[in-house]
């Protein structure tokens, strides 16, 4: 009996392993034959911004197809955790929704050769759309102070004079506003509240942060949760990456004297023309986003995410991999792949060239 049973288990195990190995063999062949010859091999780890998460997945898939012997791991553990891991030397590169702080730079980076500096370049730009679902309203114009009032809970009805004054032609219902924000910590919330805090500080008195600062309005999990809540609710408004807005109404935000709809071009333009950040240098392209812009070709409600890496790695084997991967990420191809997968706005060609020069010098 026992032998019979053992035999059955053994048979199942053998059959299973044959099945699995045959699968693996099938999957392996196309990449081996199609891929161009690549001399790169090895593994690098990155961690950080979850906003970049789906773009990183697309980049990794494409890069590993072109370089079959390379493995790249990206852990979307959050910007703060990503910067900490990179500083401690746990990862070869980091993705972060906010630029390195001066004290983080002063502390040094464990993975880099001391005193060789670091690299910080933008790689992911995503316009944040203010989305709404109000019966009978297809176009909505709002300025920062009104958006801040709605999300802070000081403007509670769609026929509030502040909204009516900006939308003379719209038929706004006398219904309460349900403002939906993120219930989880998020770089989207940080950039959205940063915009409100910079442009309308008299209303939005809380500094930019990952968690939503007020206990007002409705909260939902993740971008898809916010979009769901806005879609399924009545007289709702929320904020989400433009690519996830779907068929919902999108608010035109007041920039200067005009109302601007979010576009990839507007987001890329404001990033390209913003002044350099406090820490900027030869290999640090951090910018101070110009939220107060009055140029109507700009869309200032935008999330910019950075790649952080070393100029010179202690582990020399890692350097060519990081250089090649980050160059692909910030190239026109990589940016197009991210636009497809995550709906991000490609960085401008000029910035891309500048970044390529920096990355080529990694050793």
């Amino acid at each position: 009996m026992n032998f019979k049973r053992l035999g059955t288990i053994g048979a199942v195990a053998i059959a299973g392993s044959i099945l699995l190995s045959s699968c693996a063999a099938n999957e392996g062949t196309p990449t081996e034959t199609d891929a161009p010859v690549s001399t790169l091999s090895g593994t690098i780890d990155g961690a950080g911004s979850s906003a970049q998460g789906s773009a990183q997945e697309a980049w990794i898939a494409a890069f590993q197809t072109a370089n079959p012997d390379v493995t790249i791991n990206y852990d979307p553990s959050g910007s703060g955790a990503g910067r900490e891991a990179f500083i401690a030397g746990g990862t070869a590169f980091a993705g972060s929704d906010s630029a390195l702080k001066q004290e983080e730079i002063d502390g040094g980076f464990a993975a880099c050769v001391p005193d060789t500096g670091y690299i910080q370049v933008p790689d992911y730009i995503s316009p944040i759309a203010v989305i709404f679902n109000v019966e009978g309203v297809t176009d909505l114009n709002l300025d920062a102070a009104t958006i801040a009032g709605i999300f802070k809970g000081t403007i509670t009805s769609w026929d509030d004079p502040a909204i009516v004054a900006l939308n003379k032609d719209a038929k706004l219902p006398a219904a309460p506003i349900t403002a939906v924000h993120r219930s989880d910590d998020s770089g989207t919330t940080k950039n959205f509240t940063d915009y409100l805090n910079k442009v309308a500080p008299e209303v939005w008195d809380a500094p930019a942060a990952d968690p939503f600062p007020y206990t007002t309005g409705e909260a939902a999990q993740g971008t898809s949760g916010v979009v769901d809540a806005v879609t399924n609710g009545t007289n709702t408004i929320g904020y989400a990456d433009l690519s996830k807005a779907g068929d919902l109404g999108v608010v035109s935000v007041k920039v200067g004297d005009e109302f601007v709809k979010p576009t990839a071009e507007g987001a890329a333009a404001v990033v390209a023309e913003s002044p350099a950040g406090d820490t900027a240098g030869d290999t640090d392209l951090a910018i101070k986003l110009d939220r107060l812009t009055t140029d109507p070709t700009h869309y200032p409600v935008v999330l910019v995410s950075y790649l952080i890496a070393c100029n010179e790695y202690v582990d020399a084997d890692v350097a060519p991999l990081v250089s090649a991967y980050l160059t692909y990420v910030t190239s026109a191809d990589g940016q197009a792949a991210a636009a497809d997968a995550a709906g991000s706005a490609p960085i401008t060609a000029e910035t891309s060239d500048k970044i390529a020069a920096i990355l080529a010098a990694i050793k």
Binding site: G78, S183, G217, D228
Partner: protein, 312 residues
Amino acid sequence: MTTATPSPRAKSRLADRIFSGTTVFAGSLILAALAAVAVFLIAQSIPALVADPAELKGSPSSFWAYVAPLAFGTVWAAFLALLMALPVSIGIALFISHYAPRRVAQGLGYIIDLLAAVPSVVFGLWGIKILAPAVTPLYDWLVNNLGWFPLFAPPVSGTGRTILTVAIVLAVMIIPIITAVTREVFLQTPRLHEEAALALGATRWEMIQVAVLPFGRPGMISAAMLGLGRALGETMVVAMVLSPAALITFVLTSSQNPSTIAGNIALNFPEAHGVGVNALVATGLILFAITLVINSIARVVINRRKAFSGAN
């Protein structure tokens, strides 16, 4: 276990020793696991308990101010769920054990058990996509007509993603476990008690009142506690459906609801770092303590009631 006792003549065989060793190992493994969890929770919580509260999310005045709304929300949502699930479950269990024809009863029993096998994330999706939009008009009506009642104080949520919706989903999720246990207990009612009640002229409902329910009371309580335990720890449904805010309120239909500990951990762990992780683990320790206390109370209640039931 009595069958496993070897007769005096039988000599101890290798298989016996292996088997008893395995059971001892399995039994002590669960204790070790529990101890390991407790040690982990306490060790990881300490940094959050001694940290400057300004570093915690939302900058509360102390760790306890941070955890209080979460602990309240956890107990409140689970209590509401139990309030809805318990009568329904007992009704289903009585129907299956004493009213339904045997064939129907069996089928219904399988279906209820099947409900227990549905993953909670599926219930979460159902809650967001179907239930929340469906109950929104009801909440509107409640707030407009019963707004004077503190539980339905205005303003109403525009999306229906309130703690009452969460409690309804949780109730659906805990019905199978409560039903399964109470049904088993009701079926154990001594046949003689039931027949005696019927012989004395009781109707079927009176028979259930005097024979089945008193006999099943400890079982019903332990079933309710099992359900409560599941509701307290349920994570995905709360994280997906609830619109949370850091406050304590009994209002059932508002956009701002107290979150639960498990839901809050699920929402904030992915982006947490530094002392934020410790704070989340510390809230987990509080949840551990809450479930321990509730289960102990249930044990005490069951043990005290046992003497008065028809079980002996």
